[in-house]
């Protein structure tokens, strides 16, 4: 199988993630879409690692996972606080700051 297909897959995943961020309302889902985008990047890293024939890309994906984990911690903290004060996880409700 042509290795570039992995790249296409990565791009598709990234796009799905990006579209999800734009269309979904639930903060958790939006956040998951972001994670999807990160993983799309990971896939790209690994693919390129394969193409380039070294391990750097794979190492990078480990870093990404760690960082993504940290992001989850911070992100969930924020979302939960938000949910507790508003009883809603819809990001559209958080639109007091405008204009």
């Amino acid at each position: 199988m042509d290795i570039s297909n992995y790249l296409y897959l990565s791009a598709i995943l990234f796009t799905i993630g990006a579209v999800g961020v734009v269309v979904r309302r639930n903060a958790i889902v939006v956040f998951m879409c972001v994670e999807l985008m990160l993983n799309a990047a990971n896939l790209a890293f690994v693919t390129f690692s394969r193409i380039n024939g070294d391990l750097v890309g794979q190492v990078a994906s480990f870093f990404t996972m760690v960082v993504a984990a940290c992001e989850v911690v911070v992100g969930l903290a924020i979302i939960v606080t938000m949910y507790r004060s508003r009883r809603s996880a819809s990001i559209d409700d958080a639109s007091l700051l405008k204009r």
């Binding site: 990006a18 750097v56 870093f63 990404t64 606080t81 958080a94 007091l96 700051l97």
Partner: protein, 504 residues
């Protein structure tokens, strides 16, 4: 036999010290009683910064070296930016030390019994200090990181604490939390772009290091499309952080919602760190591919200046106005990216430093203007402040004039230095657009001056609180530096010139 990699700890010491200080802060938060935490935490934070700066000072002569197996480059520009960030963080912590601005217990639901109790007993949580230090450590790493992974990690290290800090305001907590959420979601979104871009650059060059990317571009060996996608996506992450149009939308909301000392910290330090990293990436890695990206950056720079300047005019909230102003300034700073020469870099370094002081000072002043329910950021209620508190209004005016680039303030010299670099490289267009948008920005700064001084105040009164000694000191330092660097810019400009180098 395997040998441990040469990390050059002495060169990394400033970052490590700040990280250490942050960890110490976490410990303090865990062990020390609530009542006495604030004092200890602020002392630790300030001490850490001083210590870090001292170590930075020790290595400032040893430029043009890499550390951590080439993951970071210790060069003139990097050290200059690190130093600037440290000094500005010090001042920012002075503002943050006025813990009255922060939620006593961030986990408590706004308006709940729990919150009231925490406030009444004065049991203030002080996680803000270690968070600040974590962010600072990320900021110190970001501009000297010279491979894509380090860049990404540094970006996250500086961002994650900031997301939290944005949500810690004591008053108007819903807005603050909303700001945190927006900042977080959009920040994570942009990080994803950054990472995706990084992946493609890696794919293009087969290397993670900026140097490697530059070599690949010079050799022009591989698939061009990967490079372009890489540049574009990586730029999105960077441009998001510096607040360039069209990746700026978060700026006004977050600036407005975040606790004001944090807004100041963000506006000054984050912008410097992000700009430093941007400059490094574009100068070191993408320098050879300028024909591909210059038109885009030029367009973005012009858009940023215009949108920032124009949108600021109709703002009614002073923090939002300064947010748009910071967007406009991001546009000016992009001129240095376009310049791609030493003078442009020098200009940018000087600009970042002076802009940082002015910004911190301005947000510092905002923390002082209050009514019974806290800070007042509605510009209409600032009307006539010059009559009530001439000194406060006068100093604020000074900062505004510096933003506007009026001669004899640091902002003017900065703008001059920056545009000179851009002009030298033949980017006349950005200089002309830059000076024209300066006129637009001047309009809204002056509008505030008119409100402060030339309009009679209405009944709803705001008052200026007597600032704590630390806040007073911080504002005074900012004001003095704004004037001194306007009158005698050589003090810093010569340093900037000496340090205006990137190594590959």
């Amino acid at each position: 036999m395997l040998t441990a990699p040469q990390l050059s700890y002495s060169l990394l010491a400033p970052i490590l010290i700040v990280l250490g200080g942050a960890l110490l802060g976490v410990l303090v938060e865990a062990i020390v009683k609530k009542g006495s935490r604030a004092a200890i935490q602020s002392t630790i934070a300030l001490g850490t910064i001083v210590l870090s700066f001292a170590f930075l000072w020790r290595v400032h002569g040893q430029t043009s070296r890499t550390a951590a197996v080439g993951s970071v480059s210790i060069d003139g520009a990097g050290i200059f930016i690190q130093g600037t960030i440290l000094v500005l963080s010090f001042i920012a912590i002075l503002f943050i030390a006025d813990t009255d601005n922060f939620a006593a217990q961030a986990s408590a639901i706004p308006g709940s019994q729990e919150e009231r109790l925490a406030l009444e007993t004065g049991k203030q949580q002080t996680e803000i200090f270690p968070l600040t230090l974590f962010a600072v450590s990320g900021m110190l790493l970001f501009p000297i990181a010279s491979d894509l992974i380090t860049l990404f990690v540094a970006l996250e290290v500086l961002s994650l604490p900031l997301y939290l800090m944005a949500g810690l305001s004591r008053r108007r907590r819903l807005l603050s939390q909303e700001a945190a959420l927006k900042y977080f979601l959009l920040g994570a979104f942009s990080s994803a772009f950054f990472l995706f871009g990084a992946a493609f650059l890696y794919g293009y060059s087969g290397s993670m290091s900026l140097d490697g990317i530059a070599s690949a571009i010079a050799a022009n060996s591989a698939n061009d499309v990967f490079l372009l996608i890489g540049i574009a996506f990586l730029s999105v992450g960077l441009l998001f952080k510096i607040g360039a149009v069209p990746f700026h939308s978060w700026t006004p909301d977050v600036y407005q919602g975040a606790p004001t000392p944090i807004t100041g910290f963000m506006a000054a330090c984050t912008k410097i760190a992000a700009m430093g990293a941007t400059l490094r990436i574009f100068y070191v890695a993408f320098g050879q591919a300028e024909w591909q990206w210059k038109p885009i950056i030029l367009t973005i720079a012009i858009l940023t200046m215009i949108v920032g300047g124009v949108a600021a005019i109709s703002q009614r909230d002073v923090k939002r106005m300064l947010a748009f102003s910071s967007i406009a300034h991001a546009g000016f700073l992009l001129a240095a990216v376009l310049a791609l020469n030493t003078d442009g870099l020098k200009g940018a370094l000087f600009y970042l430093a002076t802009y940082g002081f002015t910004t911190l000072g301005a947000f510092g002043i905002i923390t002082l203007v209050r009514d019974s329910s806290g800070e007042v950021t509605d510009l209409n209620r600032w009307v006539g402040l010059g009559k009530k508190s001439p000194l406060t209004a006068g100093v604020f005016t000074l900062f505004l004039l510096s933003f506007a680039g009026i001669p004899l303030t640091s902002g003017f010299v900065a703008k001059f230095a920056l545009f000179t670099g851009a002009y030298e490289s033949g980017n006349t267009v950005i200089v002309v657009v830059g000076v024209l948008t300066s006129a637009i920005t001047a309009f809204f700064y002056l509008r505030v001056v008119v409100m402060l001084f030339f309009t009679d105040s209405k009944s709803e009164s705001v008052s200026v609180v007597i600032p704590s000694i630390m806040t007073r000191l911080a504002i005074a330092v900012c004001a003095i530096i704004t004037i001194v660097l306007g009158v005698a810019p050589s003090l810093l400009l010569n340093t900037a010139q000496t340090f205006a180098t990137f190594i590959r």
